[in-house]
Symmetry: C2
Subunit: 695 residues, 2 copies
């Protein structure tokens, strides 16, 4: 990790460039906010004078000592010189909150370049420019120049938010603060010319004040580094990511199926799963997810007990818990009869003590608390959802306090749903401030269960299985004629066979000439053999199911007349089985990635595919199969015998091959691969080199 | 429609049974709330006296005139007698807000029975018992006994909410009221012994104060009537339904694929689509959806313009608009160059005037308003989403007022996203009160676009196409041997052929005896013919691809030896094509329903099926095909020629057959049906009679 982040994120003294007397100006509000906090604050303005009874220095050299951090609130044109002055004075970190840089075009980009140059070869770090900067509630370090009347500031807490956009997450931070959600830090990356998400994730991974890291990005500054960092961090500390721009990230120019099925976002999806990074889809979702992970422990399982004070709420929550569509496909816990008996003893006569438990609107606050206490003892319950209706007169702070107690001290994770206006909002805030998970929506409540269950599943996998990535063997061993020179199908298959991947037995008929004897068992397939023809079927260049020598001779003659002078490929025709597709693709963001999916036409319609970045481990390969909607194909569905292990092995071999071909290959399709009881055989194979390597 | 609902829903005078001086009691709060309103209020208590300077009558006979409505806030045991007194006095409607009836078991059910008997043969109607009763803000008619400090009351508005559960929707009504959402009425159905959802939907359909009807149900009091009512109402006025209990509604005992694919909820889904009823999934969703439909016009199309003051928000909203997964698969409007030029002229130099438009955080309130004004003129825009960030100091009520103006008076629907704490909440409330659609979440904002687009699509269909339901022909014409007697495959197919549904040519070999000549073209299929064997393949009772007479003779001999004395069925084997499945099923809620789905094993894994209630129109049949994820199969995907019209015709024929078999049939599977360029042929057919008809 580069140095300087401590200066940025836990400074003892800060200097602000561009301080101003004028209310509403950034140079005014930032100074006031910083003075409220625990850091020593200096102000700079060429005019000098005083502000709020403090000396204003005319330049950085006048400062009595060297502050840890500088905040530059000057017009963009003045920022480079101020930054250079900071560097000269030995200031370790600079936040440029001014806008007017790369985001406005060429002139701004030039200024940005000047900023970059100012710190080259120095220890000074820059956050921004064009950023809201920092918010570290614990230190009351606050460079966000929006008025606190319009944007609430969060309490100190254990969530770190790193955002490429200020506007994108402001709303959620504002509402989150309203509901008592606490942050260890908010860092706005702005134009990200120096300090970036990757080193910040590493920083917060080590930060004892941070339990979960939430990130909003529209692009990765360095996707390879992101992968490396997340691989290291996410087993220790949960990372949540909004990767915005899902829809506009167009698929690359598509020659093969793998390409057309990828789109950039599907690869992102797969890589994030591979890394254990949980994906969120907007600012609210980001904070909800980070909060769930920061406030509660991962779940031992997906058995949910629901406690309500009214039937309807229980039914809707149960629907979200159990349903596969519009739901999280978890389970309603089957309560222990002893637990139900205890609930019945303390509840009102007309309460229902089966899950979802309905204490009725007439239940006392004590009954809620007691029910939660009783549920702690049910070994069949992994998490409790308590739906609190604050609409009855007797629901008050006393209930909230009891809930906070169990939320903090209970053995089982407790998640609260409470929907309503002021009274409820106040209760939610009280719970949020106490570090209890409470959401003003049934769906958001249930989603938190899913997040905590996912996290637990990831951690179990990480702990139970070693990384098992086969080592690459090296390109030389492949006898690839020459990367860049188009390969015919049999040449691609030759490479596959070198790597122990099964293909049908075959011979090449050069210029279409049949040998005296065909050393292949019938039935056969005849295809034209040409490195130039990718889609043979479209050209009627494939003849299937040739059952005897006579038909073979006819077929070869016919094909040769249509494709005079071309070579033909004759193969043993594989008996039917489950068809899958496996592919490689050079993704614009993440680099070489591997796809696995169900093959055939329907699969293309259902787009049942999943991606991982190369190389993959055995665990990754297994997860890929499990993620397929049609994963039952590999689990004996309707007596289908498709060898799961054979597919896993094949994926690992293709991944290892990908490692060797990396940098040379653009896309590869193994499609279809026929999987039967004993093996997986690649029936057709295509490979496209990178254009750059096509000399 | 039965009479009495006017007494209930627009009474001029109300009498309350069980009035009380004691604060917090229902008999106290209800009287106070009613006295606040515009209706004349009487109170009854056997003790007499006065309350709030009004005479308390000792019984209903003492009242100076006959009130329109009675509210009974007595212990349940006293409610039947009070109801009988109301009937005797000629009171037209009674709300029993007391609990302690059917929901508590046998004793309560007896009291409920007494209530029912009290009104038999009279004009008096009962709402409840065990209901929060009514909330009609326009009349300040409010029988909800929860304190307004804990449960906000809505403003008068144009949404009617009908709910089987009080608790289920209270939270959303409370939050909705906080945000200014107005209601024409809230009606709690309670135990629903008399007044039910169906007549209330009809009532609000005619109510000029109501623009959208939102319904929360856990069960249908009469599903056939619900269908009839919605069919009539939904083309006129939008209906939104939360049908809770999705997950627990188990599938019925399953013999055929149609049954296993149905589950009760899939049928519900299909029937609601058929009726144009929009489905919601929780209380918040119900109110959001009803509000969208009540506040805004259906959209002409799905082209969305997004206006923001910060890049990140625009990217996330655009993702939700465009994405197929976690999105609504709509389109970002391509703005007219002239419009973009006008935007550029008024915006700040660094604003981005391409959609999503980013006015930058520095934009003035006027710029927002002007941008919305300019977008009104773009013919390529169907709806505007404005994301307002109230976090900058200059965002204030002035902005909100401008937005309200355009929300109310603009030519294009305007939907606002504004996420934040107090300042933003206040703005959202102001917009909500003004009847402008504003949501504190990006996803809820975008979902409103989807709802308004769906509504428009439904209305276009209703208006463009006549109901086209073929008339049933009558059971007699079918020559069904006798409903209840199990049918062999060829007998089911005989019925299908009677209805013009194609099946392969076939002959029956009685006792397995081959005739001298086989009047069928090869290749052939041989199956055992038994009404008792539903799953022939599992018993190896099917031989495919028999290419000549010799193999046929062998096969018949072999089968006859394995199934001695059984009849065999010999059929021409259909060439391959797209495989679909069509079925009929008697659904426990909606009655006979028809299924259409993609056939084959993958389809079973992907469960790509859709349902409608029988009978269906041609429009329904077309919509069923369109709803399949693999609908591209019928649209020339990859050169596949599957005759769409043939499938539509087949669905209509099966629906019509279903009408004739209704009451007798439990399930029917036509699976697979092979669809080719010219026709659809039913290759296998199974039918199960209802158990009741198996004499």
């Amino acid at each position: 990790m580069k140095t300087g982040l401590n200066n940025l994120l836990s400074p003892k003294s800060v200097v602000v460039f561009g301080v101003s007397e004028q209310e509403g100006k950034a140079g005014n509000s930032v100074v006031k906010q910083l003075m409220d906090g625990s850091v020593r604050v200096y102000g700079i303005n060429p005019k000098g004078g005083t502000l709020y009874e403090k000396t204003i220095y005319r330049n950085v050299d006048e400062l009595p000592d060297v502050p840890d951090l500088a905040v530059i609130a000057l017009p963009s044109g003045l920022a480079p010189e101020a930054t250079r002055a900071c560097v000269r004075r030995g200031i370790g970190a600079v936040i440029v909150i001014s806008g007017g840089f790369g985001e406005i075009g060429e002139a701004g980009r030039k200024l940005e370049q000047e900023l970059k140059e100012a710190i080259v070869g120095t220890r000074t770090r820059i956050l921004g420019p064009n950023t809201l900067g920092l918010l570290i509630p614990r230190l009351k370090l606050d460079t966000v120049f929006l008025p606190s009347s319009h944007l609430r500031r969060p309490n100190p807490g254990n969530i770190a938010i790193i955002s490429q956009s200020g506007s994108g997450v402001m709303g959620a931070l504002d509402v989150g603060s309203f509901y008592g959600v606490g942050l260890s830090a908010f860092v706005g990356l702005g134009n990200r010319i120096d300090v970036n998400e990757n080193e910040l994730i590493e920083y917060f991974a080590e930060d004892p004040n941070t339990s979960a890291i939430g990130v909003y990005l529209e692009s990765f500054v360095d996707a390879q580094k992101f992968i490396e960092v997340c691989r290291k961090v996410s087993p220790q500390k949960p990372i949540v990511l909004v990767k915005a721009g899902r829809s506009s990230a167009g698929a690359k120019a598509v020659a093969l199926h793998t390409g057309s099925l990828a789109g950039s976002d599907r690869v992102t999806d797969g890589v994030l799963r591979q890394l254990g990074v949980i994906r969120a889809y907007d600012d609210e979702d980001l904070l909800d997810t980070a909060r769930a992970l920061a406030y509660a422990q991962p779940l031992n399982g997906r058995r949910v007990a629901i406690l309500t004070g009214g039937g309807g709420t229980g039914v809707m929550i149960a629907d979200y818990v159990e349903a596969k569509e519009k739901g999280i496909a978890a389970n309603l816990a089957k309560l222990d009869p002893e637990i139900e008996a205890r609930l019945a003893r303390m509840a009102l006569p007309f309460a229902s003590v089966h899950n979802p438990i309905d204490l009725t609107p007439s239940a006392s606050n004590d009954m809620y608390a007691e029910a939660i206490e009783i549920l702690q003892d049910d070994p069949g319950v992994d998490v409790i959802i308590a739906c609190l209706m604050y609409h009855a007169a007797k629901r008050d702070e006393q209930l909230t306090e009891k809930i906070c107690h169990w939320g903090k001290h209970g053995k089982k994770p407790l998640i609260v749903a409470a929907i309503g206006s002021e009274t409820t909002m106040q209760a939610n805030r009280q719970m949020g401030t106490a570090g209890v998970l409470a959401f003003p929506s049934f769906w958001r409540t249930v989603k938190a269960v899913d997040v905590l269950a996912q996290r637990a599943e990831f951690l179990r996998q990480v702990n139970s299985q070693k990384e098992d990535v086969p080592a690459p063997t090296g390109l030389e061993s492949l006898f690839v004629p020459k990367p860049g020179v188009p390969l015919a199908e049999d040449e691609v298959k030759a490479i596959l066979r070198k790597r122990g991947i099964a293909t049908p037995e075959s011979i090449v008929l050069y210029k279409g000439l049949l040998p005296a004897e065909i050393p292949l068992p019938f039935p056969l397939v005849v295809k034209i053999r040409s490195a130039e023809v990718l889609h043979k079927t479209d050209l009627k260049g494939v003849a299937l199911n040739i059952t005897d020598i006579e038909i073979l001779e006819q077929t070869v003659a016919e094909m040769s007349s249509r494709f005079p002078g071309e070579d033909l490929l004759v193969e043993h025709m594989e008996p039917p089985g489950v068809e899958i597709i496996v592919g490689l693709i050079e993704d614009g963001t993440f680099g070489l990635s591997i796809m696995c999916g169900v093959g055939g036409i329907l699969a293309e319609l259902y787009q049942d595919v999943t991606f991982r970045r190369v190389p993959i481990s055995r665990l990754d390969a297994n997860n890929m199969l499990r993620e397929l909607k049609a994963h039952a194909l590999f689990e004996g569905f309707r007596g289908i015998k498709a060898n799961r292990e054979a597919v896993t092995d094949l994926l690992l071999k293709v991944s290892s091959l990908g490692q060797d071909l990396k940098g040379h290959i653009d896309q590869m399709d193994l499609n279809p691969i026929i999987v039967r009881e004993d093996k997986a055989v690649v029936v057709d194979a295509k490979l496209i080199w990178k254009t750059g390597t096509m000399e």
